[in-house]
């Protein structure tokens, strides 16, 4: 289970950091309200939420690396897969990104989160299968 654990840790770091650099707020763009006040766009909140999902995912990866009990590994792999689904849902359904197809959140953040989320799900499922053979 060392390799899946390392992969999950790497992916969690990417999920937590990448959206921070590829959102419209970081590019200096914001929504201007009628009263002139500027507020962050949707993608900024997706980036914040990604960080909130990445931290528990990182912990899951570290726990998988150091756990030896079959049941624990199985439970951690399941949690990893669910967090992977959340990573995909954040930019696609739960919060979303900006409308403009040329914005950095659409060009990089959204595809990167979907790609990383899919990898987290796949690696967690592989981990789930491997955990069936792990020694208690």
């Amino acid at each position: 289970m060392k390799i899946p654990a390392v992969l999950i840790v790497i992916l969690a770091i990417l999920i937590g950091t990448l959206p921070y650099f590829f959102n419209c707020q970081y590019d200096g763009k914001a929504l201007t309200l009628e009263n002139g006040r500027q507020v962050p766009m949707k993608c900024y909140w997706t980036a914040q939420a990604s960080l909130a999902v990445a931290v528990p995912l990182l912990v899951v990866g570290l726990l998988i690396a150091f756990s030896r009990q079959k049941e624990t590994l199985r439970a951690l792999a399941l949690v990893g897969a669910i967090l992977g689904i959340m990573v995909i849902l954040l930019p696609t359904r739960l919060i979303g990104v900006c409308q403009h197809p040329g914005a950095s959140c659409n060009l990089v953040m959204k595809p990167a989160l979907i790609f990383a989320g899919s990898l987290v799900i796949s690696v967690s499922l592989v981990g789930l299968v491997i955990s069936r053979r792990s020694v208690e």
Partner: protein
């Protein structure tokens, strides 16, 4: 125990070796497959734009060929003009069946009078043969004053009812199918609407939209059946001063050359990477075969034939190549699909993701290549192992 079960036990039993072979195949297959997808997608996209334009000859002001091609492919706004009277001259050339004018305009960036910076294309509905047939098929009516049709990526901004161009509210009637080019972010409307926008822009826009009178940006011509578009293009250049005529076969040649150049350099790098990876796979299996000489000696002593030992080693390699190949192809396809817009912007190429059947065919080809490559790399150490004398092998 069957041959496959034996091979699978060996794969699981030597996890480190298996991971190395698996990752080598995965990386090489993913790189090769993604390169083929990008090149294929760029070629498909160019073909689709040529079909969408539907013109046999495109006539533009002399010296602006590349600018116009870039505008059509990458959606970069362009301002080129030639006299409208050229239309009559082109129409009078033998071999020309129909000719239609187009205006190429651009909205303003970061201006409150424009929703977004866009490439705007105005056409004459009376003679147009590029947008109008699509309109009658999909919308059921022609575009009226103040109406527009957008590329696949054009949308009405959130919270608004229309698209604002130079302070003029344009009603988005529908979207064209995706082409993977700049046309996906372009807005198409009639000459009448263009003139109306120019009129309104004088009072409502940060900067007025200037359309020189009696000028057009390009003329698209269709030739009569049997006429050679290249000869007609030559005749147009000869008879109409100050224009360049590009036959459809010569359109986007700069981009075709760019794709060919990219293909050559990437394939050279990938060729070297593939050979090195296959050598590594061969070495790993050679080391594994040496480690397992006693094991294969015992198998031979128990009655296994040369062929059975060879098949078990090859089955092991094929399992790893299959797993690595499939994973590499799936990852590459997913990555290219998700990052397609970024690829278009970074490489400066138009790109259209291949259809599912074409994707499956390309993936199948990639997998066969991966399996063949790994089998070839593993064959020499496998042959050496199965040919050795069992008694000698067991003693060592």
């Amino acid at each position: 125990m069957t041959l496959l079960q034996l091979a699978w036990k060996n794969v699981v039993g030597s996890a480190f070796r298996s991971w190395i072979v698996f990752l080598c195949v995965l990386v090489v297959t993913a790189l090769l497959f993604s390169t083929v997808l990008v090149i294929r997608g760029a070629q498909d996209s160019l073909r689709l734009v040529q079909q969408r334009l539907g013109a046999d000859v495109v006539v533009v002001p002399e010296g602006t060929e590349t600018q116009v091609e870039t505008a059509l492919l990458m959606g970069q706004p362009v301002a080129v003009w030639m006299p409208r009277e050229n239309l009559d001259r082109i129409a009078g050339i033998p071999g020309v069946a129909i000719v239609t004018p187009q205006l190429y305009l651009a909205s303003l960036a970061n201006a409150p009078c424009c929703s977004a910076e866009m490439f705007l294309m105005a056409f004459d509905p009376q003679t147009d043969f590029t947008i109008t047939p699509w309109l009658s098929q999909n919308l059921g009516h022609e575009l009226g004053l103040g109406e527009a049709i957008g590329g696949s990526d054009v949308f009405v901004p959130y919270g608004e009812e229309n698209i604002r161009i130079y302070g003029y509210e344009i009603d988005l009637s529908g979207n064209l199918e995706r082409t993977g080019t700049g046309l996906d972010t372009a807005l198409f409307f009639t000459f009448e609407t263009a003139r109306e926008v120019a009129q309104v822009s004088r009072t409502k826009a940060v900067r007025p939209l200037e359309i020189p009178s009696d000028s057009i940006s390009a003329a698209l011509a269709r030739v009569v059946p049997g006429a050679d578009p290249r000869l007609v293009a030559l005749q147009i250049v000869h008879d109409v001063p100050g224009v360049a005529a590009i036959p459809s076969s010569g359109l986007f040649q700069t981009f075709h050359r760019q794709i060919s150049g990219l293909l050559r350099s990437v394939l050279a790098i990938l060729g070297i990477t593939s050979v090195l990876s296959l050598v590594l796979v061969g070495l790993v299996f050679s080391m594994a075969a040496n480690e397992r000489r006693r094991e294969t000696g015992v198998m031979r002593a128990l009655g296994a034939t040369h062929g059975a030992v060879l098949r078990s080693l090859l089955a092991e390699a094929i399992i790893l190549a299959f797993g690595g190949g499939i994973t590499g192809i799936l990852l590459a396809a997913l990555a290219i699909y998700l990052f397609r817009n970024l690829i278009v912007l970074s490489l400066g190429l138009s790109f259209l993701f291949p259809s599912f059947p074409s994707l499956v065919a390309l993936g199948g080809g990639g997998l066969v290549l991966a399996l063949a490559g790994v089998t070839l790399a593993v064959l020499p150490p496998a042959l050496r192992t199965c040919r050795q004398d069992p008694a000698v092998a067991m003693r060592e």
